[in-house]
């Protein structure tokens, strides 16, 4: 279970409203490579993951992604508080505003609502861990693209932190994959699926 800690993992303190930036950064809340999908991906995959090191990484990264979800939400909120109607109209934020005002809601930058189709839980250790590594790189690319689009240092600082975490997670998932493969048949990693075919537990 979880208990809430009344703090962000890394500080978010943005002075100037910027609905144009909010519209693109929102995609890391509810978009295809966003933090909501990331958390749900890892927390869903951990139940059938057979090895304790890989379970630990899925559990702990899945939990950290909830903290990132909160940071992205805080960024979106701070970028959309005290907006003027002129800023809303000029920035193109009007298409979001009409449905949600300045409320935070998980959608992609394109307006597509959050969908679980953006992540997988395949029930196969190699498949899932390779997906997880790709997911971290996709999120890293998205943060890189966000950094190309924004120039406010107050926004750049927490986005850089989140980008760096994608790289750390990619490393940990790579190590988890290696640990899993070390426990499989070295001549054929696919001889059986350790999440389903129930090998001897270690």
């Amino acid at each position: 279970m979880w208990t809430y800690e009344k703090k962000l993992q890394y500080p978010v303190k943005i002075k100037c409203p910027n609905p144009a930036a909010a519209k693109v950064i929102m995609t890391q809340y509810g978009g295809p490579d966003g933090e909501l999908g990331a958390s749900m991906r890892y927390l869903s995959q951990r139940y059938t993951m057979p090895y304790k090191e890989a379970i630990g990484v899925l559990n702990d990264v899945g939990t950290e992604e909830l903290a990132h979800l909160e940071m992205v939400s805080a960024i979106v909120h701070q970028l959309t508080r005290n907006m003027t109607m002129e800023q809303i109209k000029e920035s193109g934020f009007d298409t979001y505003f009409v449905d949600h005002t300045a409320g935070v809601w998980p959608q992609a930058a394109s307006g597509m609502p959050f969908t679980s189709v953006c992540f997988a839980s395949k029930g196969d250790a190699i498949t899932d861990l390779v997906e997880d590594m790709a997911a971290e790189q996709k999120a890293r690319t998205t943060y890189d693209n966000i950094l190309r689009l924004v120039d406010d240092p107050d926004i750049i600082d927490p986005i850089r932190f989140l980008r760096q975490r994608e790289i750390v997670h990619f490393q940990r998932f790579g190590e988890a994959l290696r640990i899993v493969q070390d426990k499989l048949d070295s001549k054929n990693f696919y001889a059986f699926n350790p999440e389903f075919d129930r090998p001897k537990r270690r």
Binding site: M1, T3, R46, Y47, K52, E53, I55, G56, N59, D60
Partner: protein, 83 residues
């Protein structure tokens, strides 16, 4: 039921009592009787978690006491408990 299971169940009970009292206090923040109840269980929970952690291992990542092994990942994970 062995001592570990008893202690574990006691923590679940105390934690839920504390949480549910907290939820009530969210909408009744000056209720002195509820605050007193909360603090009573808060002390009991802290004591129970401390005892469990010392005897059986960490319930949270920041409660690993072992200096020579990372015991956080030791099985069973909560969803692996036998019926």
């Amino acid at each position: 039921m062995n001592t570990e299971q008893e202690l574990f169940k006691n923590i679940q009970i105390l934690e839920f009592v504390l949480y549910d009292a907290g939820l009530y206090l969210d909408t009744h923040p000056t209720d002195q009787e509820a605050l007193c109840y909360y603090h009573n269980y808060r002390d009991m929970l802290a004591e129970a978690i401390d005892e469990y952690t010392r005897c059986y291992g960490p319930l949270t990542m920041d409660a690993v006491l072992s200096k020579n092994k990372w015991t956080w990942i030791e099985k069973p994970w909560p969803w692996e408990m036998e019926a």
